[in-house]
């Protein structure tokens, strides 16, 4: 069954732009990205849109559909009523390049600021066997497809551009948690999570978890555990005293 849908797509560049209207046919089973492609094929051949796998696994087609950060390839047209206008804009937390394409290099800069995995010195490949229970937590974060919807929706940088230098964002808090929980990682990331990556700016409003297309519980399983570990290191006098006495010489970390 086919019907005509009304689309409003943001078109323009950093110099300016606006929402443009399109009426376009929609068939059963289609997703928003299919419709954007149809508009590109039939009405606006110069419409810029980034996409790749069309299966929700590459993280390329991130955009905002009716104001909600989503993957266009995973947003079914059946979630809208036939008379409902569908508004598509680029991610609003990042600089726009053209139309629906944004410059997400902020995230690559932040990725480089996270110290990489550091196993103990002298540990040769194959010398350490990990139990499944030790890697379960980290594996959840490895599902991340780096669509950056969590980064985009986070109000800390979405509504406050000036916070960008001091705030890594939820995707990289998950990365920090993944490494901090890794049994073999030797870097203490707790203090720097607060002081260099700005985890204290997060106020736990959970939008990152709400928009994650992989269903990663970023707030409950990464950010809050990291905040608690930061509290171990910086805000818990009892644990600080324990570390001073020498039971845990590295500032209270438990292995």
């Amino acid at each position: 069954m086919t019907y005509s849908a009304h689309f409003r797509i943001w078109r323009g560049s950093a110099a300016g732009g606006s929402l443009q209207d399109f009426d376009v046919d929609v068939s059963e089973g289609e997703v928003v990205l299919d419709i954007v492609h149809r508009i590109q094929a039939t009405q606006a051949p110069d419409l810029a849109v980034r996409w790749n796998c069309k299966a929700g696994k590459c993280g390329s087609c991130s955009a905002e559909v009716n104001g909600r950060p989503r993957l266009m390839c995973m947003t079914r047209m059946s979630v809208f009523t036939e008379d409902e206008a569908v508004t598509v804009t680029p991610l609003r937390a990042f600089p726009v390049l053209r139309d629906l394409v944004t410059d997400v290099s902020f995230n690559y800069t932040k990725a480089r600021e996270v110290p990489s995995f550091a196993p103990p010195e002298g540990l040769a490949p194959g010398e350490f066997r990990m139990q499944q229970v030790d890697v379960d937590r980290s594996q959840e974060f490895r599902k991340c497809i780096e669509c950056f919807l969590c980064q985009n929706v986070c109000h800390v940088i979405r509504d406050h551009e000036d916070n960008k230098p001091a705030f890594a964002g939820p995707r990289f808090f998950a990365r920090l948690a993944e490494l901090e929980m890794h049994p073999l990682d030797t870097v203490d990331r707790r203090k720097r999570s607060q002081e260099q990556h700005g985890i204290g700016m997060c106020n736990i409003t959970k939008c990152c978890s709400e928009v994650c297309p992989e269903g990663i519980k970023i707030t409950d399983n990464a950010i809050i555990p990291m905040k608690e570990r930061v509290a171990d290191r910086k805000y818990d006098p009892v644990r600080w005293l324990g570390a001073r006495i020498g039971r845990r010489g590295d500032g209270g970390a438990e292995v």
Binding site: R68, R92, V133, V153, H155, R158, D159, M201, N203, P225
Partner: protein, 263 residues
């Protein structure tokens, strides 16, 4: 309202949000319920009467530690002595209040509903500047674990209060009324809310790197994690239960209702 989402280089969109769903319903309901609870709890904390109806003690006044407490209500002694002239509830409410104020779920709820930071996902907040929980007073949210420890003590006290409900008005054991059920349900919900806390999850095992080296703590962590997934639910249920338990005791104390006795 103009958008603060805009910044040089970003796509120009004037609207504060383009969301077309009713995103404001959830923060509005949260605001309304929490506001009503705060008003009710404040009134009851300052009222300083109608909090004890033998054998039931309101959770807002438990433990009752001042000598001015109603006769028979100080099950843990009047440690605060007679210098305390205000309502005895004010002596102890800082602990459960602090536990809820610093709770990771309630932080989300009130940051969204009261401070609009943000009111909902992808809806611009009205504030020009934002420093999160990095400065005083919000940096004190990091003390949540200490309120968690205090909450554990309060759970024991409120459970004991509920057990005392198995007495009759003359203090004889082996009786039970609807008030006993109310206090038991309240103690159970508060305990589950406390045990589902994120700090609890961290303390019992979350801070470990090697679960495999600590099988008992890992098992505990899995139990708490299961509860933690429903932390929001327990937060609301226990909030309602504590208000209902207090209201029930007040109704009994003011003779507006008579406690149905089962045996």
């Amino acid at each position: 309202m103009s958008s603060v989402t805009s910044a040089p280089g970003r796509a120009e969109v004037e609207a504060r949000t383009l969301r077309s769903d009713r995103w404001w319903v959830s923060p509005a309901v949260t605001f309304g319920v929490l506001f009503l609870f705060v008003v009710y709890a404040t009134w009851r904390a300052f009222e300083d009467r109608h909090y004890f109806a033998e054998p039931y003690l309101s959770p807002f006044y438990s433990p009752c530690l001042a000598t001015s407490c109603a006769p028979g209500s100080s099950d843990f002694g009047a440690a605060a002595g007679d210098w305390w002239r205000l309502s005895p509830a004010l002596l102890i409410l800082v602990f459960p209040l602090g536990f809820r104020l610093t709770c990771y779920y309630y932080r989300k709820a009130y940051y969204r509903a009261f401070w609009l930071s943000p009111p909902a996902c992808a809806v611009a907040e009205p504030h020009r500047r934002y420093s999160g929980e990095t400065r005083f007073p919000l940096v004190l949210q990091n003390a949540h674990r200490y309120f968690f420890y205090a909450a554990l003590v309060f759970n024991v006290i409120l459970t004991w209060d509920a057990i005392l409900g198995f007495r009759n008005e003359d203090g004889e054991w082996g009786h039970m009324g609807l008030g006993t059920v109310v206090l038991l349900a309240n103690a159970a919900l508060l305990t589950v809310y406390t045990l589902s806390c994120h700090s609890c999850r961290h303390v019992v095992g979350g801070r470990l790197k090697h679960f495999s080296r600590h099988p008992v703590r890992y098992r505990l962590w899995t139990y708490v994690s299961r509860l933690n997934a429903r932390h929001m639910l327990f937060a609301w249920l226990s909030l309602f239960s504590v208000a209902i338990a207090d209201l029930y005791v007040r109704l009994l104390a003011t003779d507006m209702f008579s406690d149905p006795r089962f045996f």
